[in-house]
Amino acid sequence: MSHLVDIFLQPGKVFVDLKEKPTFWLPLLLVSLASGVMVLLYYSTVDPEWFANHMLLASGKDLTAAEMEQVRASMPGARAMGYIGAPSAVIVTVVVSLLYALYFMLAGKIAGAATSFRHGLSLVSWSSMPVLLGVVVAIIGIAMMEPQTGLESLMLTNVDPLLVQLPADHPWSSLAKGFSLLNIWSWFLLALGWRTWTRSGWLQAVIVAVLPSAVIYGVMAMFALL
């Protein structure tokens, strides 16, 4: 439990401990459940009619009023979205963590370090603790928001809306809305953990830590440029 505090205060010590006893349940549960709670809270607070219009406009399709009505009728309501979205958020968080763990296991094999899947999952789970702060910020935002507010504008640790506010059809909008500044903190923790466990240099640690994100955001940037 003390790791929950130490991961922010003295992460090096946490990773030294985790090398011997790689745990992951607590941070993984916290992050995934917080994400689920955030989604559930948002959908139970937002104005359902406004949200339906917001989603239709965000789809970017030029629909006639009749078509919009048809699509709206076939869309699940905001409350239903909450009930679907909350467990989905939990599942997605877990699945993504598992994929990352797989990645670190493979990276360990390539780098010649003995990194098990459990180690990978532990590294990912604990390194994503800063993300929990972002989720907390969003939950506070939801508690304070007006009903006609988009979820993306509540992710206050993301580039958009913290630093820029791009229109929905702006080419860089997806990247700006998807990139959290807390990722940098997470990358640092990943690199630190990797370095601690494999006794590699900082360069290798940073490359291994950032590579998956670099690929994901790189693809998004390419789409923006094209």
């Binding site: 922010f8 006639t64 910020v137 006609q148 206050l156």
Partner: protein, 409 residues
């Protein structure tokens, strides 16, 4: 050291939790930037497009009334002439001969009357004598009847001769009139703008474009008008007194101001379409040389001059409902939020559209950008773009006080 790291990390966590809200608060709920215009009373000037030609206001085409050779032309093309001034002479010989002939006929009629009067006087005396003789029974009744009959015949013959004289007078007068027509005089004061006939050519009375049918064209070149053809679909909107901007082909960039003066009651048929001739009086500014026959296009302004509550046309957004009914709305900026308001619209021109219901003067209407107008939702935060200065650019035809009356409900 440990203490310091704890505080540092704690501060970092606190910062992560607090800074986003501080930044958000500092930036304010900026919302999307929009261009805003104020709804005020404006002079909306819807127009009708028409084309036509320019023509001098008073223009007369002189044609001959007689068949005769042109013996003399007193003017040249471009000459200024006064009303009644001699322009052209036709050969009068034929008509002088006709006058002499008719004068002789008249003289014969006068002589004939004198002869009839003498004969009538004789018949009267014979009748009076026969009357006395028949009373004395010196002649029989049959002889008396014959004398009386001859008197009546003489009276009728005299009357016939008198009528013959009147007829001769009329014919003579007509011949003199024909002679007068050999001298062509200007019916108006103006300028000779066309002179197709020459001395020695034979003038013929015809309205067709045969050689010799047209003598000359005289026009008052100080006043010019446009004769526009307005489509039958638009003619109901046109009324005398409406303002018109005329663009002559020779001055395509210069709007010549005019006023609708007359609207034809009967149409002219051109191919499949029907159009009505609309005559527009034009005020010609200095330095502009207009000529009759120039082609021109025109914008006829339908406004009656009253100011109406209006917004830029791009601010009006149309929706088609499930029942195909079209509704219109505008977005207002109220307290930093976008508010959708359904409106009813009236007249419009290429810049402004009248709002007859739904808005009040002074409402802050969002006019763009177009992309934002498509994606706005009720309650969205909006801010006025810094270069949003629509009122100033639009103030060329609205009054300063924007005294539009409320048009809502």
């Amino acid at each position: 050291m440990k203490f310091n790291r704890k505080w540092l990390a704690g501060g970092l966590i606190l910062a992560v939790l607090v800074v986003p809200f501080v930044v958000k608060q500092a930036k304010g709920d900026a919302g999307v930037e929009v261009d805003i215009a104020e709804a005020v009373a404006r002079d909306i000037r819807p127009t009708i497009l028409a084309s036509g030609v320019l023509a001098y206001r008073d223009e007369v085409k002189l044609t001959a009334e007689l068949v005769a050779q042109v013996s003399m032309i007193a003017v040249e093309e471009g000459s200024m002439v006064e009303a009644g001034e001699l322009l052209l002479k036709l050969d009068p010989e034929t008509y002088l001969n006709a006058i002499e002939r008719e004068q002789a006929t008249r003289r014969q009629s006068v002589i004939s009357i004198e002869r009839q009067r003498v004969a009538l006087a004789l018949r009267k005396k014979q009748f009076e004598r026969s009357e006395q003789l028949v009373k004395l029974e010196l002649i029989d009744q049959d002889s008396f009847d014959q004398v009386r009959n001859q008197l009546r015949i003489a009276q009728v013959e005299l009357k016939s001769s008198e009528e013959e004289l009147l007829r001769a007078d009329a014919v003579l007068s007509e011949a003199r009139e024909q002679l007068e027509k050999t001298e062509v005089r200007s019916p108006i004061a103006g300028q000779v703008v066309s002179l197709p006939i020459k001395v020695g050519e034979t003038a013929i009375p015809s309205t067709s474009s045969l050689a010799g049918a047209q003598l000359m064209t005289i026009a008052d070149t100080t006043a010019i008008q446009a004769e526009l053809q307005v489509d039958e679909a638009d003619i109901a909107k046109v009324a005398a007194g409406q303002q018109v901007d005329i663009y002559a082909a020779a001055y395509p960039e210069t709007a010549l101001e005019g006023v609708v003066e007359m609207i034809a009651l009967a149409p002219t048929i051109e191919g499949q379409g029907r159009a009505y001739k609309v005559t527009v009086d034009i005020e010609v500014p200095d330095g502009i040389e207009l000529r009759s026959g120039m082609s021109a296009r025109a914008d006829i302004f339908l406004s009656d001059g009253t100011k109406k509550l209006a917004v830029p046309v791009e601010a009006i957004v149309s929706d088609t409902g499930e029942d195909k009914k079209v509704t219109r709305h505008v977005w207002l900026q109220r307290d930093g939020k976008a508010k959708k308001v359904e409106v009813e619209t009236g007249a419009s021109d290429d810049r402004w559209e009248e709002v007859t219901k739904g808005l009040e003067a002074g409402d802050q209407v969002i006019v763009g950008p177009a992309r934002t107008l498509r994606t706005l939702q009720d309650g969205d935060a909006v801010t006025r773009a810094e270069d949003s200065d629509r009122e100033d650019t639009a103030s060329d035809n609205d009054d300063e006080d924007g005294d539009g009356e409320s048009a809502s409900q």
